[in-house]
């Protein structure tokens, strides 16, 4: 680092809940949430553009979906982050995950973690989304393989499952 940069380094301890687990990391102001999550081992958060064009790094921050590449780690301090692994896994799959598997919504799979988080935020917001709502909800998540159609159908199916769970619980 140059002298100028060395002087500027002001690191800060940041506490973040990631998928329910308390994490503590000391980082400078310019470190993004994406970088921090990946350093913490959350490799499911993908990096595709680093400037908010592709959505591969989308996570929930206090329930709202954000591009973690455009979120400074300092701004995530004291807040809770959910990644696709926090949503569920083989033993406790979220209906969105089950639907993505059954509908064949993942091809190369690189956009999938971010896509699922955007879909989760969408369903939290609009439990009965129209196709138009779904298209609007995903317009910041690029997919190059699928043509999105199976992603749409999986989200519609998951929405139905979630509504059924809601009424039976």
């Amino acid at each position: 680092m140059t002298d100028k940069e060395t002087q500027m380094v002001t690191e800060k301890r940041v506490d973040i809940q990631v998928n329910g687990q308390a994490c503590e990391i000391t980082v400078p102001a310019w470190r993004t949430l994406l970088e921090v999550l990946r350093e913490l081992g959350h490799k499911e958060v993908k990096c595709g553009c680093e400037k908010g064009d592709c959505g591969a790094c989308a996570v929930l921050l206090d329930g709202k979906v954000v591009d973690s590449c455009l979120t400074l780690a300092w701004n995530a301090a004291g807040r809770s982050v959910t990644t696709v692994q926090g949503l569920g896994g083989p033993d406790n799959a979220h209906p969105l995950q089950t639907a993505f598997i059954e509908h064949g919504s993942a091809q190369c799979g690189y956009c999938t973690p971010g896509m699922i988080m955007a879909a989760k935020a969408l369903l939290d917001d609009i439990p009965e989304p129209s196709l138009k709502d779904i298209k609007r909800g995903l317009s910041g998540n690029l997919c190059r393989c699928t043509g999105y159609t199976r992603i749409f159908s999986a989200i519609q199916a998951a929405a139905e499952t979630l509504r059924e769970q809601e009424t039976t619980s």
Partner: protein, 775 residues
Amino acid sequence: MNRIESPAAGTANLQLRQVGKPLVRTDSPTKVYGTAVYAGDLTMPGMLCAAVLHSDRASALLRHVDTSRAEALAGVHCVLTAADLPPSQGVMTDMPGQTGGLTKNTKQPILAKDRVRFCGEPIALVAAENAAIAEQALRLIDIEYEDLDGIYDPFDALAPGAPIIFGDDNVVASYKVRKGDIEKGFAEADFIVENTFTTQYQEQAFLEPEAALAWVDEHEVLNIRSSTQVVEHYRAVADAIGLPHNRVRLRAEFVGGGFGGKEVMTIEVWLALLALASRRPVQLVQPRERSFLSHGPRHPFTMTHRTGVSGDGKITALQIKLTSDAGAYAKLSPYILLYATVGATGPYRVDNLHIDSVSAATNNLPACAFRGFGTMQANLACEGQMEEIAKLLGLDSMEVRRRNFIHTGDANVTGQIIRSAVWSDQCATQALAALGERPTDTQTTRIGHGVACYQQSYGRIRWMKDSSEAWVGVEMDGTVIVRSAVTDIGAGQSSALAQITGEILGVPMDQVVVYFGDGAVTPLAGTSTASRALYMSGNATKMAASQVRKNLLGCVAGYFGVKIEQLDMCDSQVFIIDDPQRSIALKDCVKLCAAEGVHRHNLAIFRAPTSEGIDPETGQGEVFPDFTYGAHAAQVAVDIETGEVKVLKSIGAHDVGQAINLRAVEGQVEGSALMGQGFALCEELILKQGRLQTGSLSEYLIPTSEDVPEIKAIVLESRSGLGPFGAKGIGEPVYAPVAASIANAVADAIGVHIFELPITPEKVIKALREKESTK
């Protein structure tokens, strides 16, 4: 001759239990749970981060490259320039992975030495403690350029007196096709239709930028784990840096999209050099902007068709000129031009034919492989021309197509006899029918319907002498392993092998584990390119599994005292077909084999048909193993005031031979529908004096969820292909007609054809104005 007349033909596969079904792909859960590992996700203790310095001049002498300030930066482990490289000074960028046949000499410098030929050419490599230091080191490398005149247009490059960028004359490749009697054909024509079509650069824009990790292990083997379509690059890495082939191990992780962009070697050799120099593991993940510079986009083409037609729409003569912009290095341009040449007449039989094609070097980005590999550009011109002919003759364009379709048993452009089914008509008819009724025009919108057919090869060029190996074995508990070095680039390559093996051995596919993509320990399968992975590795896997089945059933036949033909396998049981109660569990069957010393595994090799090239004067000869046929249809609404085009419906109908996984096939059709829409309407790499103006995903626009029309896949199965169970390759074919169908739909809507892609709102308005002024 295997002439198949109708969709009813080929009923041999109807007993299939898994193949053809829309089963869950084996790679789906891990991708959906976020546990799938991509090359950029790997870490190792002591790992360094790499960064690459790309030229910001398109044509210049490198007067001086000074890395001393970068090297002095704390945390920098090594900085490499051309001066530090081994004497071989180049990396083979010819058709990767081939084991037979001749290669062209298309070596490209690993790092620019003395001169840069395109804006983005790599000049220096850095390995440092972390990515931030590596980036900072790049800024401390001092370069003194001396600008040279550049050429940015292939026609300028071919003009006499042009500065030389490649060879003696800037010609990277050229082909000639001479067939029939063209003068006679034109003399017989009632009309002659001539048009020139152009296409733009298209960027693969896979979501995962290039990423790899390299290190030297305890056995002095250089290991590379990479996002690549081709593990056989280990040989090219070894040759480039002077290591024996058996000292380089290349493994492909799940690839986050390839589409041809990860076919020619991208970053592997850079990491190999850095790992050797630093003796540390080194990882590179290209930032998106540098990803645009690290692989070759689709070639821009200029295509002129001069077509002689009789009054009833029959083509009597066709003269075609194709020119592609290769950019600064050859890469795969010669082969891509060959594909374009063979595909230049689309799915039509033309007996009197001249084709002259040339690929010229410029100081633009070197173009390379991209889904369709030249065929889709050539097809676009062909299908646009069909519409123009129909318009001139006042005929329905499908009628014109029908009068000219190639049929099974006919000779194609290069005189190769088509042996599999040609269902162009059925596919086009079904796709058009699925468009349904036209919505009515409004005051400001015009509705258009368009269709396009195609002929696209699958499998590699015959003189590559292509082969693929696969190993299948049954474990003692009755579970199954497949080993194949096939790379899994997202289309379900490894899952298909599980499904095929499960079918043959009567095991649910989720009990089959496929080890894939390891150049050292899985049998080499060739590349996941050229729509060949399923065709080649599917066949090899089916052969290996069938041999294992034969061995297992042989033991059981002895055990029950019946013939092998009386036995079948299903649900991990072996049973007597006529007496299913008499059965034996697969795991017990395996024990029988083990006790008798019978092989429970098999290594098979599948060889594609081969030939020795084409006649250079006439272009005649057998070029490809086989071809896929089908059609795409589109319904568009054009806003005649703003020129905006909205695709309403997008329907692909294809004869896939035999679907292995129906859902995966439909996924290919759907994905190609949107990628082709992007090519038709909004995707365009714009270069200005060789410098990229659209080098990020906010300037280079691929379609979003908001751009998605109603998409439908119609899957037809002739079971006439050369792949397993009669499958044909589909990854590229399903993409081939999409852009043409949209261009044709726009022409239908506004009554005038736009010959230059992409069809931007601006070009629509211009076309409408010109139409108005010529009235």
